[in-house]
């Protein structure tokens, strides 16, 4: 039997003593996380044997049970440690472990674990967003290679990644979920162009990736040709518990409470402060509700019970409440900071006014109800189950 309280303390102690203050400061002040910040932290975790909490021991994972992993994620958030960069560790890694060849496991897993390789996800396309199976980027066989032609979009971190795991269409079938394959493509391949997308928050995180006759060895295909959708779904199934970790949102709320005290300390702000504190309290009640559901979800998974609609409920609840919290922070600083969003005399997209991250974070937060299955998609899922039709 695992002593979860002792485990929590061990993780907390590690986080507070080993995560460099400059890295924690980036998280605490909402500055944009990048490979430069993530990599040293991943290296520290890796060297401690905690590089991949979710992987089996034989591949360098920790062998922790689900509750331990949940505690690890919670404590990381509570201590302002960056959430681990997920594309390799949480997304691709498990797919390779489950479906990859021996050669692929040897080649890719250790470099994901150590943080040497940086991955990004080539899923969405201009005409395949929520309806991902409509993707059209095509790969045709030519000898021992695929030739890939098409365009991906919303590709986070492509600007700093080495590889992109990519869903491509290898044949046209009656059902659009069929005929899709999963390819691993080096981003320095000839024919790849990466173009930043200017997002409303002023941060650079997503890109368009153009693939113009890109040659990819067949050995870089994961699993069977035409089975890519299955692997993609496997990945999403594993992510269903992601919403159970409400700790980052709770941390966001606490930081916002501190912001109100600091920003609105002057007597002339008394009314504003009390209004915002009350809104924040309502958000806290909602988040505590989500937190209780998250614990139910973890317990259900540990006991092998079905999660039912919990993942959708958690996603909806937490995303909307996080947005409320972001909005409260914006309302606290907006009058002072929102006008200073972007300097006109600088070439860079990032604004420099201290505290501008509150404004950026509010804008960024709008994506929470869009990505990972938009609120409207989640409501469709819930309604279908509730109505039975």
């Amino acid at each position: 039997m695992v002593d979860y309280n002792a485990f929590r303390e061990e993780v907390r102690d590690f986080a507070m003593t080993r995560c460099p203050p400059n890295i924690r400061a980036v998280v605490a002040t909402y500055r944009k996380l990048s490979r430069k910040v993530w990599y040293p932290w991943q290296k520290i975790l890796f060297e401690h044997g905690w590089g991949a909490p979710g992987w089996p021991r034989e591949y360098g994972g920790t062998g922790w049970d689900l509750k331990q992993r949940h505690i690890f994620d919670e404590v990381m958030a509570e201590c302002d440690c960056p959430p681990q960069y997920h594309h390799g560790l949480r997304h691709l890694g498990p797919v390779i472990i489950e479906y990859g060849s021996e050669e692929q496991k040897q080649r890719f897993l250790p470099r994901i674990l150590s943080g040497e390789d940086w991955w990004c996800q080539g899923y969405s396309e201009p005409n395949a967003g929520s309806d991902l199976a409509s993707l059209r980027t095509a790969a045709r066989r030519e000898g021992g290679d695929y030739i890939v032609e098409g365009q991906k979009t919303w590709t986070s971190h492509a600007q700093e990644a080495d590889w992109m795991y990519t869903l491509v269409r290898t044949s046209k079938e009656a059902k659009k979920q069929q005929g899709i394959s999963l390819l691993l493509i080096p981003l320095n391949s000839p024919g790849i162009t990466i173009r930043p997308i200017r997002t409303i928050d002023g941060w650079h995180h997503v890109n368009e990736v153009f693939l113009d006759n890109v040659r990819v060895p067949v050995a870089n295909r994961v699993g069977e040709e035409g089975q890519g959708w299955t692997y993609g779904k496997f990945l999403l199934e594993r992510e269903r518990l992601g919403g159970a970790n409400v700790a980052p949102a709770m941390k966001h709320l606490e930081r916002t409470r501190a912001l109100l005290a600091q920003e609105l300390a002057a007597p002339r702000h008394a009314m504003k402060r009390s209004l915002l504190e009350e809104r924040l309290l309502m958000a806290e009640a909602e988040l505590r509700g989500a937190q209780a559901l998250g614990q139910e979800a973890v317990a259900a998974t540990m006991e092998d019970r079905s999660l039912g609609l919990l993942p959708s409920v958690l996603k909806l609840s937490t995303s909307v409440t996080s947005q409320h919290v972001g909005e409260i922070a914006l309302d606290a600083v907006g009058e002072r900071l929102a006008p200073r969003f972007r300097p006109t005399d600088a070439a860079g997209a990032n604004a420099e006014a201290p505290g501008i991250e509150w404004v950026q974070n509010y804008m960024y937060g709008r994506v929470r109800t869009i990505y990972g299955g938009s609120s409207e998609v989640q409501k469709n899922v819930i309604a279908k189950q509730l109505f039975g039709i």
Binding site: L309, L386, F387
Partner: protein
């Protein structure tokens, strides 16, 4: 198979309370005359007293069943789902807690000889000049909109650090009786130098009164979550069967999404209330905070679910004819019991300020 709500605490007590609630609700719906309704409520009250509901959480050595919070939650949940318009939480949980050290009154309550209304320290009044005060054992002042069992025999009044018992038929006590918007019996109590016996005084009264109020708030949440689950079921049922423009309303995305939103609010509230119940059962130092958050959330989520139920039923939502709508009124009323949102928010904000300082 459409949605079916699961009780927070199920079992025989839940089922019995739910059945009796549905029977009472159906019978009352068929009675137009107020006096006949009052007589009907009295019959149901005597029946649940006879069944021993009030003794549920009274200690065995005091003649009770020695049950715990989860037994009370089963009763409250069943009564909530069935829409039983009687003061179940007050009589089975809050009063026994307040009277735990007063065997004589407690026994009379448990046996159904005393039908006691609780007048809490923060009871509403129409006029500030009506504030209750005690002068030489005589109580003067008024409290309005007090949830009251049928044909009350006594009022138990929390006044400062004193716990008072006043007989309803004593000289200087005037009662105006009502039915609340959720069908529960209620009364305005006016005291003019009425004889009051002080049954306890001191810090213990303050402590017990605060605990009793939190127990009341928590079980009111359980009752309302249960009612909210029934509301979602009945709204879905209505939308599946009601045909307009040649199609069931359940095919319209706007309505489906509204029901999905009701469900998300319901789940969120259920999670919070379940957590608070567990926390109260294990008795940690921040139990009151978990309960306050749950009650605060009830104000938001409960209101949304009740209003959405009315909206989704269209014109029918404006009638008293449907059980769903009567339950919606019950949830709306729950907001004002044992501390509304403003009370809970004040406690929580004060606490946050204290901890920050």
């Amino acid at each position: 198979m459409p949605f079916t709500a699961k009780p927070i605490i199920g079992g025989d007590a839940f089922d019995q309370a739910c059945r009796i609630g549905l029977d009472a609700d159906a019978e009352l719906a068929g009675i137009a005359d107020a006096a006949e309704q009052a007589a009907c409520l009295r019959r149901y009250w005597d029946a649940i007293a006879e069944l021993g509901w009030i003794t549920t959480a009274i200690a065995e050595d005091a003649g009770g069943a020695g049950g715990d919070l989860s037994d009370l939650a089963a009763l409250a949940g069943g009564a909530g789902r069935g829409g039983l318009p009687l003061p179940v939480v007050a009589s089975c949980a809050v009063l026994p807690h307040l009277l735990a050290e007063h065997a004589e009154v407690l026994t009379a309550l448990a046996e159904g000889r005393f039908r006691i209304a609780l007048i809490p320290a923060e009871a509403a009044r129409d006029d500030e000049a009506d504030a209750l005060h005690l002068d030489g054992g005589r109580l003067t002042g008024a409290a309005v909109g007090i949830e009251t069992p049928p044909d009350p025999t006594h009022a138990l009044v929390v006044l400062g650090d004193a716990l008072l018992l006043v007989a309803a038929d004593a000289p200087g006590v005037a009662l105006t009786r009502y039915q609340r918007i959720d069908g529960k019996p209620a009364a305005d109590w006016r005291f003019t130098g009425a004889a009051a016996s002080v049954i306890a005084r001191g810090d213990a009264v303050l402590r017990r009164a605060a605990e009793a109020r939190d127990i009341g708030a928590l079980l009111t949440c359980v009752e309302s979550v249960s009612a909210a689950g029934a509301l979602i079921e009945q709204t879905i049922e209505y939308l599946l069967n009601r045909v307009q423009f040649g199609v069931p309303l359940a095919t319209h995305q706007a309505l489906r999404h509204r029901v999905a939103e009701m469900y998300v609010e319901y789940e969120n509230l259920r999670g919070l209330v379940t957590h608070a119940l567990r926390s109260a059962a294990s008795g940690g130092p921040v139990v009151w905070r978990d309960i306050a958050f749950a009650k605060l959330r009830l104000g938001e989520a409960g209101r949304f679910i009740a209003q959405s139920t009315i909206q989704c039923h269209g014109g029918m939502g404006m009638t008293e004819g449907l059980q769903a709508i009567r339950l919606a009124r019950r949830i709306m009323m729950a907001e004002f019991e044992y501390g509304d949102r403003s009370v809970q928010a004040r406690r929580l904000l004060d606490d946050a300020a204290r901890r920050a300082a």
